[in-house]
């Protein structure tokens, strides 16, 4: 880490939720909509405190539900404001229509989603099912591994969402419970540096804004060619966000001394024969186990997904091509398929991977810990696959019953 940059910041021990709140505060949003839900609540409590103490000059809307949270920030964003809100799980589901409308309207909203399960059983527990269930909503999805990355990604998200060439809302995801309430050392940047990092947005052409008397309609009835044009531009903007994110990450590193590699982070991948693909807080554990396995002579690496939507297929194919075996760890389910969602998506690029074999691991749902033992098991199975042994395609790591006869 660049020590020079460190002198221009302050070290704090804070939770992931506090890191998200401070990230939002540093971005100086005009309008914030706040509604509580476990495990996100601490974010909006912190922001409310900043607001009450005069440390955050924003319009704070204490809405009566998540649906209104998204609708309020969408409109404020289209009017020209910088906005922030945060949610989780059922909250994300309750605002789903507005989530779709926000991306369709190309409103550069930034929202934090603290990942939590969303099954019929009310599970107040971690899991990425909320993220998976909204992956086709047209937003850009970023995933943080630790508390530091949460803060960094919130700031990077504004550069991405509000970029004139992008103008697509960005959701920053991190694991509920594992990161939301975990206190870690976080290097909090100074306001002046954040202002400098975000000032690029002021130099670009002004985006279209809905202002009184402006003779502008937002959300007109798009049909036939008009709708196709807007949808195609939306897809193109999302695709171009991949390269933009890499560039933003580099600029971030120049100012703050921390870079993550853009769309994906490659950990000990160069000479790796087998690779685990993961995202979020599990990556810390996976890195630890990889270090141990490396000491034992196993050539294993990690590909961490930082940008999940758009799907970083190009950089993933480049990084994974020629690897003997790939184990994809999903913290969610893909109903309709046996394997996890990220596994299923990566399978679409199988022919481009040059013969790499793939298996799916499902773990970490409903607060089942992705332990060191679990990761060791995943690496061993992936090594077995590389060695040509018979390995089951899908493994529910913390639920051995799934592997019994008749199970998937």
């Amino acid at each position: 880490m660049n020590t020079k940059a460190k002198e221009k910041s302050q070290i704090k021990v804070i939770t992931g939720n506090a890191a998200a709140a401070i990230g939002a505060q540093l971005a100086r949003p005009d309008v914030v909509a706040a509604y509580p839900i476990t495990p996100q609540t601490e974010i909006i409590e912190q922001i409310s405190k900043f607001h009450a103490n005069g440390e955050m000059d924003c319009e704070l809307i204490t809405v009566e539900g998540e649906n209104s949270a998204m609708n309020a920030v969408m409109a404020a964003s289209l009017a020209g404001g910088r906005v922030f809100t945060a949610t989780s799980s059922w909250g994300l589901a309750f605002m789903y229509d507005a989530v779709l409308a926000t991306s369709g309207a190309r409103a550069p909203v930034v929202m934090v989603n603290v990942n939590r399960e969303t099954p019929g059983i009310i599970a107040v527990s971690s899991g990425q099912q909320d993220m998976i269930s909204t992956r086709d909503a047209g937003w850009i999805f970023l995933i943080a591994e630790d508390c530091q990355e949460i803060l960094d990604l919130v700031l990077q998200a504004y550069r991405l969402a509000e970029d004139y060439d992008i103008q697509v809302p960005v959701m920053v995801h991190y694991d509920g419970f594992y990161l939301s309430y975990l206190s870690e050392v976080v290097d909090v940047p100074l306001q002046e540096d954040v202002d400098r990092f975000l000032s690029v947005l002021k130099d670009q052409p002004e985006r279209t804004k809905l202002i009184p008397g402006g003779k502008l309609g937002c959300g007109s009835h798009g049909i036939l060619g008009g709708y196709l044009e807007l949808r195609h531009k939306h897809v193109c903007a999302r695709e171009s966000s991949k390269a933009k994110f890499e560039q933003i990450d580099k600029e971030y590193q120049e100012i703050f001394g921390r870079g993550y590699g853009g769309q994906i982070e490659e950990y000990r991948m160069d000479d790796a024969d087998v690779v685990l693909v993961g995202s979020g807080s599990m990556c810390g554990t996976i890195k630890t186990v990889i270090d141990e396995k490396r000491d034992a002579g196993v050539k294993v690496g990690l590909l961490k997904i930082r940008m999940y939507r758009p799907f970083p297929s190009e950089v993933m194919v480049k990084a994974l091509k020629g690897k003997k075996a790939i184990g994809v760890v999903d913290r969610s389910l893909c109903f309709g398929f046996k394997g996890g969602p990220i596994y299923t998506e990566l399978k679409a690029f199988e022919t481009q991977l040059g013969g790499s074999k793939m298996i799916s691991f499902i773990d970490g749902i409903a607060n089942t810990d992705i332990t060191i033992v679990n990761v060791e098991q995943m690496i061993d199975a992936t090594c077995d696959l590389a060695a040509g042994k018979d390995v089951r395609e899908v493994t529910w790591v913390s639920y051995p019953e799934a592997q019994e006869d008749g199970g998937l």
């Binding site: 809307i61 949270a69 998204m70 969408m74 404020a76 009184p212 309609g217 959300g219």
Partner: protein
């Protein structure tokens, strides 16, 4: 419209100080009260308003298609679920940015009284600085005449059809305006197209009131297509709704109710329902149920206006 000949105008036209921002021919049904209303609002309040609207009868005209529009107003087309929250976001951002604004959240009763009632109530509770106008055509007219919370007792709709085992809607209608007045917001009012001077005054009062917070207008907007009456009778339907106390005209500042038009000898509700096909199947006993409900609601309104005067709302709550 801006230049008017003196001495030849009625009082109502004096309120129309601004241009009509809509094109001459728009896609409403003949006799639509909504068209009159949306042309009227910007002529009274100015063309620098921002309107938010939802999928509804107003949408085909307010939304426009692709980059074509029927009007020159700033418009935000949005979802029925979160209309009041959209208006909140706009008004709050304009306030933060120091931009003068009149945001009008313009919705039918489906949005206001049914699917969007939660966020309407939320915006009222937070006293958000904008005007909410509900044009009440007593159901989902745009999707083909379905029942809503404001559909009155006895009305036949496509989801409460009159049949051998049904008299139409067998429930009371929601008194939306009274509910909103109970939020003690700066301004609540009812209005309709037979009393345009009254409507204009209330629009101007709402604009003034939104400087202090939330303003709500409940506009009775009959629908010839959905209700089954001749298009040329729209204003007469409005007039009789007022004269029977079916739709009394009143306003409330911080919840203090005041009648803006008192009907000395209210006509029986049958003089109103006789114009409208959706009530045609009701017999005398059914009409009496409707009449009793109208009498009850009117009595309650009068009682509340007296009580509000007696029970002083704390001054702090009025700010």
């Amino acid at each position: 419209m801006t230049q008017k000949k003196k001495g030849k105008l009625t009082k109502v036209l004096d309120y129309l100080k601004h241009d009509d921002p809509f094109s001459k021919g728009v896609a409403f049904c003949p006799g639509c009260s909504l068209e009159l209303l949306i042309r009227f609002i910007p002529q009274v309040l100015g063309n620098d308003i921002v309107i938010t609207g939802t999928p509804s009868c107003s949408a085909p005209v307010l939304l426009g298609q692709n980059n074509q529009s029927w009007h020159s107003l700033s418009y935000f087309g949005t979802l029925m679920t979160g209309a009041a929250a959209n208006a909140t976001g706009l008004a709050r951002y304009y306030r933060k940015a120091g931009i003068d604004n009149t945001v009008i959240c313009f919705n039918g009763d489906g949005t206001a009284a049914d699917i969007g009632f939660g966020n309407l109530a939320g915006a009222a509770e937070r006293n958000e600085p904008f005007i909410y106008i509900c044009y009440d055509n007593e159901g989902y007219m745009n999707t083909g005449i379905q029942k809503s919370a404001t559909t009155p007792f006895g009305a036949s709709t496509t989801t409460t059809p009159f049949g051998s085992a049904s008299k139409g809607k067998n429930l009371r209608r929601m008194n939306l305006a009274l509910k909103m007045a109970m939020h003690k917001i700066p301004y609540t009012a009812t209005a309709t197209m037979s009393d345009l001077g009254d409507l204009a005054k209330k629009l101007l009062k709402a604009k003034e009131a939104k400087e202090r917070g939330f303003a709500f207008l409940h506009v009775f907007a009959p629908c010839p297509t959905g209700w089954g009456y001749a298009p040329e009778n729209t204003i007469e339907v409005c007039r009789r709704a007022v004269k029977t106390n079916y739709f009394p005209l009143w306003e409330a500042e911080n919840g203090k109710i005041r009648m803006t038009k008192t009907v000395k000898k209210p006509k029986p509700v049958s003089t109103y329902t006789e114009l409208i096909k959706k009530f045609a199947h009701l017999d005398e006993a059914d009409l009496q149920i409707l009449q009793d409900d109208i009498d009850y609601e009117y009595c309650l309104l009068g009682g509340l206006s007296v009580l509000e005067a007696e029970c002083q709302l704390p001054v702090s709550a009025e700010d």
